[in-house]
């Protein structure tokens, strides 16, 4: 519940999913200030999508994927933040976290000069981590605009900030509907689907202080099948594997 405080909610299709932003109204400011803060957060996510999407040819990732081996791509601060985290997770998880989706886990390198492509066939897809970063950035934008509490939910990768306890519902992937799972305050939560070979409709969820880590660590839980993978503790995170309804998840 919003504890009696007024919350403005808006949603737009972004990042290939629906992004919802909730913001408590900014005290002492006209109502449109809260709306403007939400607009700015959506604009931040859109700009990030244009820089990181593999579907955008001119994006940092699009240019990397089109480049030949030996190329060094000049990348922006968002790509640096996400790829830096991706490299750390890859190394710490023995390659279980892989933004190249098997096309060359170690065939890219990020350094001060840029993003190096080390093999022709390597392609990067930041789908497993960039959504979380986008949520973190949108939260930062809302805070910069004076929003004291709220949340950003990018299709299930979400973060709540400020002193607002946000009830969390898990979608029933088999038959629809949602079930109350937890409440989260000042933290992030993400869910990913396990491949069909892991059994019918299994999902991994991770709670972490930042959404980038929650988002990325669900992939580690999916890949390892281990909801208490030691890496989670390094990031102050906690994981779950959900079975289909009526199974002992």
């Amino acid at each position: 519940m919003s504890g009696g405080r007024a919350v403005v909610r808006r949603a737009r299709p972004l990042l290939g999913t629906l992004v919802e932003i909730g913001a408590t109204t900014i005290e002492g400011a006209p109502p449109r200030a809260t709306s403007a803060a939400i607009d700015a957060a959506f604009a931040r996510i859109f700009a990030l999508q244009q820089r990181l999407s593999r579907f955008v040819a001119a994006s940092d990732v699009g240019r990397f994927n089109a480049a030949p081996a030996g190329a060094c791509i000049d990348v922006g601060s968002d790509a640096r933040a996400v790829l830096g985290a991706a490299a750390a997770l890859r190394d710490a998880s023995d390659g279980a976290f892989d933004v190249t989706v098997g096309s060359g886990p170690r065939a890219w390198r990020l350094d001060a000069r840029g993003l190096h492509k080390l093999a022709d066939e390597v392609e990067i897809d930041l789908g497993g981590i960039a959504k979380g970063h986008a949520v973190d950035c949108a939260v930062a934008t809302l805070e910069e605009h004076g929003v004291a509490a709220g949340w950003v939910n990018a299709g299930g990768d979400l973060r709540a900030f400020g002193d607002l306890a946000v009830p969390l519902e898990l979608r029933d992937e088999e038959s629809g509907g949602v079930r109350r799972f937890a409440t989260i305050e000042d933290g992030a939560f993400a869910t990913s689907r396990c491949p069909a070979s892991h059994g019918a409709s299994r999902h991994a969820s991770v709670a972490a202080p930042r959404c980038l880590w929650a988002d990325a660590l669900t992939k580690v839980v999916v890949a390892s099948g281990d909801a208490s993978h030691p890496l989670l503790a390094c990031f102050g995170a906690r994981g779950w594997l959900h079975g289909p309804p009526r199974a002992n998840g």
């Binding site: 519940m1 919003s2 919350v7 909610r9 808006r10 949603a11 737009r12 299709p13 290939g16 999913t17 629906l18 919802e20 909730g22 959504k131 949340w151 939910n153 299709g155 299930g156 990768d157 709540a160 306890a165 946000v166 009830p167 969390l168 519902e169 898990l170 979608r171 029933d172 992937e173 038959s175 629809g176 509907g177 949602v178 079930r179 109350r180 799972f181 937890a182 409440t183 989260i184 305050e185 000042d186 933290g187 939560f189 993400a190 869910t191 990913s192 689907r193 972490a208 202080p209 102050g236 906690r238 779950w240 959900h242 079975g243 289909p244 309804p245 009526r246 199974a247 002992n248 998840g249």
Partner: protein, 182 residues
């Protein structure tokens, strides 16, 4: 980070009854005002396509699906700033209504989700459930209003929304060509 589990076990979670979920974000009027803040009035209207026009759309690779759309025309004095078109799409378990703002030159200005309904079971395909889009809540299991719950799950695709937006851009272009929209 503070994280409090609702149930004691995941088994308890799995046996808890699933509930439906709904959020109303904006009315079409509110969305139109957000998209065209310079407008001094919005004229109501409708785009209605006849069979031949729907066929012309299909020839462009755009399936018509509906033949009628609610429209708000943004005006400032005598000038037309653009149009806002309302539409709704059905996903696997969800119904989404949204509005697309289109500038005078045909470019998309903004897309805003108007409302979101997530159902359990097959009722999403039933007309009675879909009618909940228009007007306020009536079905008992539907929670609307102050509850700010967030949903997590395998990432929801919004392909049907992007397809719908593409359709509306084509419909508006067609309606402008045949003179039924300014």
């Amino acid at each position: 980070m503070r994280f409090v589990l609702a149930g004691t076990t995941l088994a308890a979670l799995a046996s808890a009854p699933a509930s439906a979920f709904a959020v109303d974000y904006l009315t079409l009027e509110q969305a139109a005002q957000l998209m065209f803040p310079d407008a001094d009035r919005f004229d109501g209207g409708e785009i209605t396509l006849d069979a031949a026009q729907l066929q012309a759309l299909e020839a462009q690779g755009v399936r018509g699906r509906s033949a009628r759309w609610t429209v708000r025309i943004a005006r400032h004095g005598d000038a037309t700033l653009g149009v806002v078109v309302a539409d709704a799409v059905i996903g696997k378990f969800e119904l989404i209504s949204y509005a697309v703002g289109i500038d005078g030159d045909g470019a998309i200005r903004q897309i805003e989700i108007l409302s979101y309904r997530e159902s359990h079971g097959g009722e999403i395909r039933l007309p009675a459930w879909r009618r909940q889009f228009v007007g306020k809540t009536q079905a008992a299991p539907l929670r609307v209003g102050d509850d700010i719950a967030n949903i997590s799950g395998a990432t929801l695709s919004c392909t049907h929304v992007t397809d719908g937006v593409r359709r509306i851009v084509a419909v508006v272009a067609l309606a402008r060509r045949n003179g039924s929209l300014p």
